[in-house]
């Protein structure tokens, strides 16, 4: 700047007519200033804009997963078909597969349509299978096996509509998009329109998405995230039970006891490096050590929990050390002064005071672990269809299961676009969990944080 004044000094001074009017150079500098500030505002707005787009697309795409289309029909449970021997023997009943139930459902829907006098070119009751989910027969069969006395009665069922019908009501499927589709025809959709008006088909809240199990590739309308939620829950148990004590113990050693030597330095370097290792590498570690070497069961929440523990430990150690450091030395000195040993001063005084900070850090570490997907792919928590609820606590840890993010990944890679809606819905559930955990962490910090 000194150069500039030197070069053009005389000329500039001459152009200074008045102090109240800005000269060219000042104007230029002010413009540059305004421009620079505008860049900053643009950058912030861009960041916030991305956040908004992300959240809006999650919510608009995902909310529909919480609604599902049902068809209300009266099904006559024909004894001729379901129980030919007429003795209601459970073994005989079990022999009738879901194929036996399908005609009953198709007939029931067909009769229902005729009873409403809807105008449709469809003559064949069989074509009703386009409207009803393939899982409806299983629902019916289960209820009959549970109570054989139902046979012979006419009962009202809320049956799942097929995924194409569901998609049509939600605007995902249109008359143009089904041109190549073998699973539904334009006549079917015309019929669906009339059925909606007659109140036979309606959307209602989809509890089974939240509590249910994943379903096979061909029936997206039935898929739910409940079982993989349990898988995530069991994994979080493992992570909490291992990473909290180990993380706290490691931090106490490093912060309170460790002498200044090579070994301590080595540990610290390791921890800071592990915090930056890509999560997929932890997946490789889990695969090689826990599954190939130790032969722990593949896809088990126990293994997933172990891998995630190793991954979250650095996070927890770093935050725990920060909260131990925040406890003022006067507390330690006072404890030592009244005769406590070093160990007593740490465990009786420092640790309780640091606890809120430690818990906050642990919750944030758990939230990170809950959303992590990549390592779970390697230890086999995908490719497995989480259809069964674990039978107990032990099988919850050891039996194959999925996890929320792994389940979302799986839905995202399936061919049928109907699964995408489920994936977005799963993300809403995942984000609700993460938000809850983070809010708890913030509240904890607000409530217990002390300034010394």
């Amino acid at each position: 700047m000194t150069d500039a004044t030197l070069d053009t000094g005389g000329e500039r001074r001459a152009s200074h007519g008045s102090l109240t009017a800005q000269d060219e150079r000042t104007k230029r500098r002010n413009r540059a200033e305004a421009r620079f500030k505008a860049y900053g505002i643009a950058a912030i707005s861009a960041g916030l804009f991305f956040l908004c787009v992300l959240l809006v697309s999650i919510i608009t795409n995902g909310l529909t997963a919480f609604q599902q289309t049902f068809i209300e029909v009266e099904v006559f449970l024909d004894p001729e078909v379901l129980d030919k021997n007429g003795n209601r023997d459970p073994d005989d009943l079990r022999k009738v597969s879901t194929f036996g139930y399908n005609p009953l459902i198709n007939q029931a829907v067909f009769d229902k349509i005729n009873s409403f006098d809807l105008d449709s070119p469809i003559e064949d009751p069989k074509q009703m299978r386009n409207l009803v989910s393939a899982s409806a027969a299983a629902t019916l069969r289960d209820s009959v096996l549970e109570d054989p006395e139902l046979i012979g009665q006419t009962l009202t069922y809320q049956l799942l509509a097929s995924s194409r019908v569901d998609g049509y009501l939600k605007g995902r499927v249109s008359r143009e998009s089904i041109a190549e589709d073998k699973n539904i025809t334009v006549e079917d959709l015309d019929l669906v329109d009339q059925m909606v008006e007659a109140g036979i088909i309606a959307k209602s809240f989809n509890w089974s998405f939240i509590t249910g199990a994943d379903a096979s590739e061909s029936r997206p309308e039935q898929a739910g995230i409940g079982v993989s939620m349990l898988g995530s829950l069991f994994m979080m148990f493992v992570v909490l039970a291992l990473s909290l004590p180990i993380g706290v113990a490691a931090s106490i050693y490093l912060e309170e006891f460790a002498p200044q030597n090579r070994f301590t330095d080595f540990i610290e370097v390791n921890i800071s490096n592990l915090a930056a290792v890509p999560s997929i590498v932890f997946g490789i570690l889990g695969l090689a050590v826990f599954i190939q070497f130790m032969h722990l069961p593949q896809s088990a929440p126990l293994v997933g929990g172990l891998v995630l523990t190793l991954m979250t430990l650095p996070t927890i150690i770093i935050s725990t050390r920060a909260s131990l450091k925040a406890v003022p030395p006067s507390i330690r000195d006072a404890a030592l002064g009244v005769g406590a040993s070093k160990m007593q001063s740490v465990f009786h005084h420092v640790l309780p005071l640091a606890m809120p900070g430690i818990l906050t850090g642990t919750i944030i570490g758990l939230a990170q672990a809950l959303g992590e997907t990549a390592p779970l792919l390697l230890i086999g928590m995908v490719g497995y269809i989480a259809t069964n609820y674990p039978e107990g606590v032990a099988s919850g840890f050891m039996d194959p299961n999925s996890a929320i993010p792994a389940q979302i990944y799986q839905w995202a890679t399936r061919a049928d676009p109907a699964f995408y809606e489920r994936a977005w819905g799963g993300i809403i559930i995942l984000l609700v969990f993460l938000m809850t955990m983070n809010i708890i962490a913030i509240l904890l910090r607000r409530r217990f944080e002390r300034r010394w």
């Binding site: 390791n270 130790m294 997907t373």
Partner: protein, 487 residues
């Protein structure tokens, strides 16, 4: 006895030990705790820890050592004639283990009696069919040698488990007895317990080292195995990536590295300017209320799991870009999954990473330097450009390097958003793939872990580990070396 029951028994013993140890110390002192060397609870803890910790330590060590020992002894017994042409010993061993696991399952489900499982001969029984009955699918028929090895494997595991039960319970009981007998009122129980606790603390801190060792060993071990069956020169020099599980695959790393770098470059091109300007604005211009509002909101972007970004790339950004650059628009994009899709979304994810790191660094520049610059008549932007940013530059470079290492190691966004084709292309709207995405695709599914197509994932992991580690170390080095030290 299963590990679960061993742990339960050891825990029960420890609780019992706490009660009786404390009681014994008190009764020695005639019920007056003032006569004791330590507080009464310390005597209880002493007994509890001495019986629990060695037992659990043995249990953990056993879990690590037993598979090693058994594997070595069994594979040592397998004659070379049993290893078929074109196969390796480790392949045969994985067969042996699969048969052994199958037999275990069959016994557990009651389809076989324990004696039958051990006396079974391939001449009399079709093992493959018997195991298929209980739901264990085997790829090929079981040879006599494999079955014999599997039976050896089972009996060795059985012996090992009995020995484990013996040693773990023995250690628990011995610790209990020793600590209990040595409890008297003069015992320095507090010192003993504190020394023990300190050992536990050191062990916990060493887990970080063990994890690193575990990562390095599992990478090196499998990478070496990979290079034994696949030439290293091809891996590092070939420009084609075309794995086929039937054999004859070309596994060159360059297309993957190129995809990784290209995507990371685009991500950084998005994240660095936005993140940096956001940090400058937040720390220099923004009023406290704007800062309190915008900073946490930006950081929300960092807290969102990567699977969410992956889905966003696949289902929102990809189709959006396709409608502009695809066949109906500019016509240079074939499908929604492309380098640009993944790069843009990854850039979004990295914004808060760059911005909060740079924000901290800019805030660390002392106020006196700003005041000096203002005093000389500089405007705010001139101060930032000519004083603050140069002072903060090493830290900012460090932050960018850390962001780059994050971008290179990122998995879910590229798995879902970048496509699967490995190609060397300059068009950012082409589908490409990355190191991380290929690690996932080579290791998921029913791949055979001994084939080069699966093992290559470990070599890729090793490459990834070295690159990210190098970037992190470099970032730390730059920050330390070039940081201006202010008073």
């Amino acid at each position: 006895m299963s590990a679960f029951w061993l742990v339960t028994i050891a825990l029960g013993l420890a609780i019992l030990g706490f009660v009786v140890g404390r009681g014994r110390a008190l009764s020695h002192a005639g019920g007056d705790s003032r006569d004791l060397h330590s507080l009464p609870n310390y005597y209880g803890w002493n007994v509890a820890l001495t019986s629990l910790v060695p037992a659990l330590g043995i249990l953990v060590l056993w879990a690590l050592v037993q598979p090693l020992v058994i594997n070595n002894s069994i594979s040592g017994n397998i004659p070379d004639t049993l290893v078929p042409e074109g196969s390796t010993l480790s392949l045969v061993m994985s067969d042996v283990r699969r048969v052994a696991d199958g037999l275990d399952l069959a016994v557990a489900e009651g389809a076989l009696s324990a004696e039958d499982a051990q006396s079974m001969r391939t001449e009399f029984t079709n093992v493959r069919d018997r195991l298929a009955e209980v739901g264990v699918a085997l790829g090929s028929n079981v040879t006599a040698g494999t079955l014999a090895a599997a039976q050896d494997y089972r009996s060795a595991t059985y012996t090992g488990n009995i020995l484990r039960t013996f040693f773990v319970l023995g250690a628990a009981l011995a610790g209990f007895a020793y600590a209990f007998m040595s409890t008297h009122k003069e015992l320095r129980a507090r010192n003993l317990v504190e020394a023990g606790v300190k050992v536990l603390l050191v062990t916990a801190a060493s887990i970080a080292i063990l994890t690193t060792i575990g990562i390095i060993l599992s990478l090196i071990f499998n990478t070496v195995q990979f290079f034994r069956i696949y030439p290293a020169s091809e891996f590092f020099l070939s420009l084609t990536w075309s794995p086929s599980f039937g054999g004859g695959s070309e596994l060159g790393i360059w297309p993957l590295l190129w995809g990784t770098l290209y995507i990371s470059l685009i991500a950084l091109a998005v994240a660095v300017p936005i993140g940096l300007f956001a940090a400058v604005y937040l720390s220099e211009y923004a009023s406290p209320s704007v800062r309190a509002f915008a900073k946490p909101l930006l950081e929300v972007l960092a807290g969102i799991p990567t699977i969410v970004y992956g889905l966003f790339a696949l289902l929102t950004v990809g189709p959006l870009l396709l409608s502009v650059f695809g066949r109906d628009g500019v016509g240079i994009m074939q499908a929604g999954t492309a380098v640009m899709t993944a790069g843009l979304v990854m850039g979004m994810m990295l914004i808060p990473f760059v911005s909060s790191l740079s924000d901290d660094i800019i805030n660390a520049v002392p106020q006196a330097m700003r005041d000096g610059s203002y005093g000389l008549g500089a405007t705010k932007s001139e101060t930032i450009k000519q004083v603050i940013l140069p002072a903060a530059l090493p830290g900012i470079v460090g932050a960018v390097l850390l962001a780059a290492s994050r971008a290179i190691g990122e998995t879910m966004i590229v798995v879902l958003g970048a496509g699967a084709a490995a190609r060397l292309s300059l068009n950012p709207f082409d589908a490409m793939t990355t190191v991380t995405a290929k690690i996932v695709s080579q290791l998921t599914g029913d791949a055979d872990f001994a084939s080069p197509e699966a093992l290559v994932a470990f070599a890729l992991g090793m490459t990834l580990f070295i690159i990210t580690l190098g970037l992190n170390v470099l970032a730390l080095y730059i920050v330390r070396k070039y940081r201006e030290q202010y008073e």
